[in-house]
């Protein structure tokens, strides 16, 4: 999993010193070891060399000086305090140790932290405290800078929390790939080269017909500019407005539900590898004025699932998240297409067509599950580079406030917020992908695959009857059209069309 270069840490340490404006806390060990101090200032003077990674200036210091295992070979000292410090548990991997610690309550972790330097490092592993907070407080937590301090403030309010919960102690001789990687991913900024490629087609002011002909029918992504001009949300939506208008209403945030005020408090302060992401499918039902602050862009008005009325699957979400939050590779449910409009902030998109599985992603044979074991930032660190050598490069872009991206049905996509962002997204079915959707809903394992509704197995029946009732004959018409098209044309892959100068002339066949 970890593929850090051995000199990454030293590069990071150099940049850290450059970037950090706050004075780093004194360490007990440094004071006792003047020789060590000398080494560090020498490193500072050398300045930046090579590429390396840059840390966020607010990166937490609660790595406690954890270093990756490779550094043990380069270090003048030869011991890893992990060995003596874990005792009999040293034969277990870091993940297994954390599995055990995951069963402990807060006070037991606190006691364990005083047992040895190794346990100190393990017991301060933030994900442990995040789980405890979410388990015991659900969405009602008052984020205090770190999950540990949030927990302590809630359950031990009389105990004064210093330094926003981050601790002073640095453990210089502790080496662990797992813990280091976790901290690294929480602290990294997106590298410039990950953001450079922007090869999506952009259009402004095209007609609906042009959109359908050139993008929706051929199933190609496009970034549309200037079609949110009538959105009140673009003017009005910021944290203050939303908090005021939504008050105590709770929104879906990962496994819990939170008030906006509490969520923003968390999002403003957090630095972690997989931040909690606000993703609510009922926002307009919960707070109707939000629904009236935006209009579906012209191109996406055909919305066939609407024939199901209140029984339609989830179809529209408000998405709010801090830098680093996002979605790792997936294909949108029910074979629908989607549009995603950024109201505030900016998002980096990486898209692969349906027939290309992104590197590092492992869909199960039936498509019901997708295993993407790495976080988004780790995917960029370890897999993004591979895409440069591929003939089948992904479509990429940065989508900024006021822009809308069209995500055709079946396309793999990954999104990461580059800064705190607010967006609205909708999934939809039009006549262009109706046949696909019906095929999808008909599948034998529909009960696992179909999403956004409690009534998975019957959705096909309900939907097709409702369509037949509202638009009689449409289904048959579209099905025969699809069969005709498939019969007439051979099926070039998407990539053949992209390299072909006459882009737009071929049709991306239904069902492939």
């Amino acid at each position: 999993m970890l593929s850090c270069k051995r000199n990454v840490l030293s590069q990071i340490m150099k940049r850290t010193k450059k970037n950090k404006k706050k004075l780093r806390k004194k360490t007990l060990i440094r004071n006792q070891n003047p020789q060590f101090e000398e080494e560090e200032s020498a490193a500072e003077e050398e300045g930046d060399r090579g590429e390396g990674f840059s840390l966020k200036s607010s990166a937490p210091s609660h790595s406690h000086g954890v270093q990756p295992l490779g550094n043990l070979f380069l270090s003048p000292s030869t011991s890893n305090s992990r060995i003596t410090g874990l005792g009999n548990l040293r034969i277990l991997t870091d993940e297994l140790v954390l599995d055990i610690l995951g069963f402990l309550g807060g006070s037991h972790l606190g006691v364990l932290a005083t047992v040895s330097k190794s346990f100190y490092v393990f017991c301060n592993h933030e994900p442990l405290w995040r789980n405890l907070v979410l388990e015991h407080l659900k969405g009602d937590f008052f984020f205090n800078g770190s999950w540990k301090s949030t927990y302590i403030s809630a359950f031990y309010p009389s105990f004064p929390v210093l330094n926003n919960g981050s601790s002073d102690l640095k453990v210089r001789d502790f080496y662990s790939d797992y813990l280091f990687q976790s901290w690294l991913c929480a602290s990294l900024e997106m590298k410039r080269e990950w953001l450079e490629r922007d090869n999506i087609e952009r259009r402004r002011g095209i007609s609906v017909e042009e959109f359908i002909l050139n993008f929706e029918e051929p199933n190609k992504p496009v970034l549309l500019e200037g079609c949110l001009e009538n959105w009140a949300a673009l003017e009005k939506w910021d944290k203050e407005y939303l908090t005021e208008v939504c008050r105590d209403v709770r929104f879906s945030v990962g496994p819990v539900e939170m008030k906006l005020e509490d969520y923003f408090r968390y999002a403003d302060r957090v630095r972690e590898e997989r931040p909690l992401y606000l993703f609510d499918p009922k926002f307009a039902e919960k707070v109707p004025i939000l629904g009236s602050d935006y209009k579906i862009p012209l191109y996406f008005r055909e919305d066939l699932f609407s024939v199901l009325g209140g029984e339609r699957p989830d179809y529209r979400w408000v998405i709010i998240g801090p830098a680093g939050s996002g979605s790792s590779f997936h294909i949108d449910p029910n074979s629908t297409s989607a549009w995603n409009a950024v109201i505030k902030g900016s998002k980096k998109w990486v898209l692969f067509p349906p027939d290309v599985v992104p590197p590092g992603v492992h869909p199960s044979p039936d498509g019901a599950e997708v295993a993407c074991p790495v976080s988004i930032i780790e995917w960029f660190m370890n897999f993004y580079g591979a895409t440069r050598d591929w003939k089948k490069r992904p479509i990429e872009c940065v989508c900024k406030a006021g822009e809308v991206i069209f995500v055709p049905n079946g396309w793999w996509h990954l999104v990461i917020n580059l800064e705190e962002s607010i967006a609205i997204t909708q999934n939809y079915v039009s006549r262009r992908n109706l046949v696909n959707v019906l095929d999808f809903l008909k599948r034998p394992n529909a009960s696992e695959l179909v999403s956004g509704t409690m009534d998975r197995t019957n959705l096909y029946d309900k939907f097709s009857s409702a369509i037949e009732a509202t638009f009689p004959g449409t289904i048959d018409q579209l099905v025969s059209k699809a069969e005709e098209t498939a019969a007439k044309q051979k099926k070039p892959s998407f990539w053949e069309s992209v390299t072909d100068a006459k882009v737009g002339q071929f049709k991306f066949s239904f069902g492939s």
Binding site: G102, S327, D332
Partner: protein, 188 residues
């Protein structure tokens, strides 16, 4: 009806074991290997010793028929790992709770008793079991062993914990004071 298929496995120290396929299927790792076509030859288990393997098989045997229903009844005990946010849109709904009737309750009781006896083992065996369950990808066993290890930590003083696991206190006196102060709330 065809007789159950027997799978042959070899542990890292060269010993072979013959186990029913259904039993050995409780291990996701072995299941995947069989599904990939290794079921007809000898399956090597380089990370599992002949010492711990029988203990693992004992668990598997107990949980073969219970496998499906066990998943449902122990939903409350199992730790839910943090779900990655990409599944937000997919919105997988939770499995509805199984209503417990008297028969079910008795079964659960019996299983709990079995587990208590099964987990009455020393530390070395426990850690070997943890590693084996991890390598063989037997989630229920992993969680059970991890919880047992956690129970050996819970409620003890730092010194007692050190003694239990043979841990050296490698803080300097000043560091220890600092760490104690930072975590004073846990000692109330």
């Amino acid at each position: 009806m065809a007789s159950p298929k027997v799978i042959v496995l070899r542990t890292c120290d060269g010993e072979t074991f013959e186990v029913d396929e259904s039993v050995v299927y409780v291990s996701e790792t072995i299941k995947n290997m069989i599904e990939d076509g290794c079921g007809d030859g000898v399956i090597p288990l380089p990370n599992v010793s002949s010492k711990i393997f029988p203990k693992v098989i004992e668990y598997c045997k107990k949980h073969v028929s219970d496998f499906e229903s066990l998943k449902k009844t122990s939903n409350g005990d199992e730790k839910e790992k943090d779900k990655d946010d990409d599944s937000s849109k997919k919105g997988k709904e939770a499995v509805p709770d199984v209503e417990e009737d008297a028969e079910e309750k008795a079964r659960v009781e019996e299983l709990k008793e079995w587990e208590t006896t099964y987990m009455d083992i020393d530390q070395q065996v426990l850690f070997d079991l943890l590693q084996a369950a991890n390598y063989l990808n037997i989630k229920g066993l992993l969680l059970m062993a991890a919880e047992k290890a956690a129970s050996m930590i819970r409620g003890k003083t730092p010194e007692q914990i050190r003694e239990t696991f043979n841990i050296k206190n490698d803080f300097t006196p000043e560091e220890y004071e600092e760490v104690r102060r930072e975590n004073a709330w846990a000692f109330e």
